[in-house]
Point group: C2
Chain length 168, copies 2
DNA sequence: GAAGATTGAATGTTCAATCTTT
DNA sequence: AAAGATTGAACATTCAATCTTC
């Protein structure tokens, strides 16, 4: 059994504050570290495609929404877990790069519709297979059963945290 | 079985690109969302203590390192997974608030030693119990066995990602 | 007045350059 | 020359205020 970073952290807490049950930190801390390390590894791979993490996220969100590959700015914000100001900024830059189009929603002129351009569609699809392959490799230390188990435990946790799908 | 956000995402991928095995996204995506939701919930609780997430992290890192509660700036950076510039900035502000001291390492005058002040020591300890209790509640949807299982799977994953404890 | 998006200010991070010490 | 920290510029995000549309 190889030790990870959190094993060291928990040992330190046990030594410094023995009366404290620090086991919750073992779960939360590992989730945070795993997420950060994965982000970094994934961002590195995207650099090969000339994409940033957030660029792929936004384009992929449009792609998986299905034809006509178009969502409102507000919806993109919910799905990305960032504020509306960040979405405005991100869309600005993707429009400049010609990867998405922005138009006013004719049915509700307060809303803005963002859609993939041809070029944007190709860019995401080009990165997609490589990206999923990369993720698969990053998870390769876990066996198939373990991956399923991990996903299941995380789903339970997420539901408890209120992570339910807002209408599709 | 209640669905979470990623169940929806995977269903969308299955519909749009049926030839793609998107299961790795189910694991990585859930890790990212769980980490973000936990961060947010934890930050909210810290606000009650007048602390930011990064403030608690830095102070708690010093505390769990044990007496004399002192580490170099570089070491703090490694442990926090942020750049040296960020550490300089964070320490600046904690010094101003009187929660840490900064002094040149007499044995190696290139290094800077950061230590908890009395006030800083009290502040972390004051927030610590409440914080762990909060984490316990956030994880409460999982049973004890499930929590252990989750921690174990994450450890395996982390070791695979190279997350080994640099000498303690 | 509320909803949706944009703007500008404030904040905080990374990155590269610099300075001191070894 | 390399190690460690600081600085300033560039960048990106949040937050609050504003503008338009409903």
């Amino acid at each position: 059994v190889t030790r990870d970073h959190l094993d060291m952290v928990l040992a330190q807490w046990a030594a410094e504050t023995p009366e404290l049950d620090a086991t919750p930190m073992g779960v939360v801390g590992r989730l945070q570290r795993a997420s950060r390390l994965l982000d970094k590894a994934i961002a590195d791979r995207f650099a090969d495609h000339g994409l940033q993490l957030w660029e792929f996220d936004l384009l992929a969100t449009l792609l998986r929404s299905g034809a006509p590959y178009e969502l409102t700015a507000g919806r993109l914000g919910e799905l990305s877990m960032v504020t509306s100001g960040a979405i405005t900024n991100r869309v600005d830059r993707l429009v400049q790069r010609g990867l998405v189009d922005r138009r006013t929603d004719p049915d509700n002129r307060r809303s803005v519709l963002i859609s993939l351009t041809e070029s944007g569609n190709e860019a995401v699809r080009g990165a997609l297979v490589d990206h999923v392959d990369n993720e698969k490799q990053l998870l390769a230390v876990l066996g198939p059963r373990e991956r399923t188990q991990l996903a299941g435990l995380l789903r339970t946790l997420l539901v408890g945290l209120g992570d339910v799908p807002q209408e599709e």
